[in-house]
């Protein structure tokens, strides 16, 4: 019974998130000098979820995130993982105590994100597609 309730609940949540997801398109950007030309989805997820701390070529990767309550962040994770951002938050709060893995560095807005990427060779960040500048390199497009 309990199990069934849980399943029903998760189904409802899934439906809701799918509804929200189609709102915006995102791009993942890195420093212009970063040799990485493109990333696959799996690598991207692993970098953002702390499983991997390097680009496929071995260079250190420093992912950048938005503030916890940011609408952009909510939409990005929904679009990338297909799960509500709350679960991502829960994931981080769960693994934070293990001490080995750190969540991406949060930035207050798109401008500061762009600034961080422009100034950091190892940086990797996501931004809405319309905010892309020529000072950063797009390595992944999230179109849905």
């Amino acid at each position: 019974m309990k199990l069934r309730m849980l399943m029903l609940l998760s189904l409802l949540i899934t439906l809701q998130t799918q509804y929200v997801s189609a709102a915006e398109s995102f791009v993942v950007v890195v420093h212009k000098n970063n040799p990485t030309q493109a990333l696959n989805k799996s690598d991207l997820i692993d970098i953002y979820m702390g499983k991997k701390s390097a680009f496929p070529n071995g260079a250190k990767a420093s992912p950048v995130d938005f503030e916890l309550e940011s609408e952009v962040r909510t939409q990005f994770y929904q679009a990338l993982l297909g799960i509500p951002v709350a679960r991502v938050n829960a994931y981080w709060s769960r693994i934070r105590f293990s001490g080995k893995v750190r969540p991406p560095l949060p930035q207050p807005d798109i401008a500061s994100v762009l600034n961080y990427v422009e100034t950091n060779n190892n940086a990797i960040a996501y931004i809405p597609e319309q905010n892309v500048t020529d000072d950063v390199k797009v390595v992944y497009r999230l179109n849905e």
Partner: protein, 533 residues
């Protein structure tokens, strides 16, 4: 408590059944509970997995970096009382806690899928259920249910015993005690126990009371009958015991089966001891057994009743005892033949006769009237003009017996004939000894037939073989008779005797030992024949 008692049996039956059912139920319940507990545990394990699914997925996702988290997780899981051990397998790593690999542990395997890519299986969570714990829980449940059921069984048994006691045993015991105290044949009856008016117990009481009533009735009837029989028996015994005459019941061999006090007194008087055997017809008691037997036996055979007067064998110094003997034979219900013998003492009458004989009326040997006595009697009759027949007879072959065996033998023969005369004649008839071996009968009738019958009977008696004890031999004599009727054949003694004598001598011509019809000749016939000559 009585081991065969109803209560004990009911208690044993109900209690035993209840306990068996309770144990059986407990056994089945235990199996069922155990299965259910296992299912419940599996569900609980499932729930546990759902609870930790996200954390497990997070740890498995991180691979080596997630080992700490995984360790923490399995440690937490194995703390659960249901879980004996827990393990996680991911990225080629195994993190476990508790005693993994126990023999009786059931492993529940759950697949871990990636949170971020739900189609990717990234590891497995293994939960080892603590079967011992489950079993313990099932057992504890079964035990409490068993206790509950046993208590219920005990309660039911107790209630059934109580009900049986109140409804059956107590009234039954009281009935049984009451019935035990009731004397059969009295007015007492059983009371129907309370609330049992329409029950089986009630109808049982009714039936018992009916039975008691019947028993009472029958007992009363029987008592009445017994009283009647007893009083009758008392009267008979009085009659039998107080009878002045000796009475004896004997079988045909002469064994005395029953006798009265008078018989005992008689034996005393005869100087005999009390014993069972006195010979057939008590013949050992008689002075002349043969005469008695020859008189009684033929009569008894034809009549079933016989009587005669005989002298008993008394000690020498005592006066003679004369008795009238009455014998009747009868058959019992079992077809056994018995004889009742009654002896009436007629000694006093014979005393009189003896006294008369002293006056020369009687012949001392035969104790019959002598010639003088007979003449007196005839005179009496003639003077009264009473019709009578004079039969004169003398014995044939008597002289030979006398010559061969002596006078004593002859005298005993004469006594034997005298006995025959006494027992052949009717009461009103008179017999006497005329002299020598000549005898006279004075029969109070002139009817030829009656005279012939009487004489025939006498002859039959006389011609029976006579046992001479002294010589141990039998002798046989005969008789020839002549009859003269008063007043037809003569009006005085002289003539009558002469006529009878003549007729007798005629009969002598036919003398024979056989029962010849011409042993008796009437004077009238003799005269006519003489006339013809």
């Amino acid at each position: 408590m009585n081991k065969s008692g109803l209560l004990f049996r009911v208690g044993l039956g109900v209690g035993g059944t209840a306990v068996i059912v309770a144990l059986l139920c407990t056994y089945l319940f235990y199996g069922f509970t155990f299965q259910q507990e296992i299912e419940a545990s599996e569900q609980q394990a499932n729930s546990l997995f759902v609870t930790v699914k996200e954390s497990a997925a997070s740890a498995a996702y991180l691979g080596e970096q997630g080992v700490d988290l995984a360790r923490e997780l399995v440690a937490g899981l194995s703390n659960n009382e249901l879980i004996a051990a827990a393990a996680m397998e991911f990225s080629g790593l195994t993190v476990s806690s508790g005693e993994v690999g126990q023999a009786d542990a059931v492993a529940e395997r759950f697949a871990i899928y990636s949170i971020f890519q739900p189609d990717q299986k990234i590891g497995e969570l293994l939960l080892f259920l603590d079967e011992a714990h489950i079993q313990q829980r099932a057992e504890s449940l079964a035990r409490s249910s068993a206790f509950a059921m046993l208590f219920l069984a005990f309660l039911i048994t107790l209630l059934v015993i109580l009900a049986a006691y109140w409804l059956v045993t107590r009234p039954l015991t009281s009935l049984a005690n009451h019935l035990h105290d009731i004397e059969p044949g009295t007015q007492e009856r059983l009371a129907v126990p309370d609330f049992h008016n329409d029950s089986e117990l009630g109808s049982l009481v009714g039936d018992i009371n009916d039975l008691l009533a019947k028993v009472q009735l029958q007992l009363n009837e029987e008592r009445e009958l017994r009283n009647q029989i007893q009083s009758l028996e008392r009267k008979f015994r009085l009659m039998f015991q107080n009878s002045v005459s000796p009475i004896v019941l004997a079988d045909i061999k002469g064994n005395v089966l029953l006798h009265n006090q008078a018989f005992e007194r008689l034996l005393n008087a005869l100087g005999l001891s009390e014993q069972q055997q006195h010979g057939p017809m008590l013949c050992n008691l008689f002075a002349s057994p043969t005469a008695m037997l020859n008189t009684i036996m033929p009569a008894l055979k034809s009549n079933n009743v016989a009587l005669g007067e005989f002298k008993l064998k008394t000690p020498a110094e005592q006066a003679g005892i004369w008795v009238q003997m009455v014998v009747s034979s009868f058959k019992s219900d079992e077809a056994q033949e018995y004889q009742q013998i009654t002896l009436h003492d007629i000694s006093s009458q014979h005393e009189e006769l003896k006294a008369l004989s002293i006056q020369a009326q009687y012949d001392p040997l035969t104790e019959l009237l002598n010639r003088h006595g007979l003449e007196n009697k005839m005179d009496e009759k003639i003077s009264k003009r009473d019709v009578f027949t004079l039969v004169l007879f003398d014995l044939n072959w008597f002289k030979q017996v006398n010559d061969q065996y002596g006078h004593a033998a002859g005298d005993s023969m004469l006594k034997y004939v005298a006995d025959g005369i006494r027992n052949t004649l009717e009461d009103e008839d008179i017999g006497g000894r005329w002299g020598g071996d000549e005898f006279v009968l004075l029969i109070n009738d002139s009817c030829r037939q009656r005279i012939e019958v009487t004489c025939q009977r006498l002859l039959d008696f006389i011609i029976q073989p006579y046992y001479l004890q002294q010589f141990d031999t039998h002798v046989q004599i005969g008789a020839s008779m002549g009859a003269a009727i008063f007043p037809n054949d003569g009006i005085d003694i002289k003539h009558l005797v002469a006529r009878a004598d003549k007729a007798m001598y005629r009969a002598k011509g036919y003398k024979s030992r056989d029962n010849h019809e011409d042993f008796l000749i009437f004077a009238t016939d003799a005269l006519s024949t003489t006339g013809d000559e």
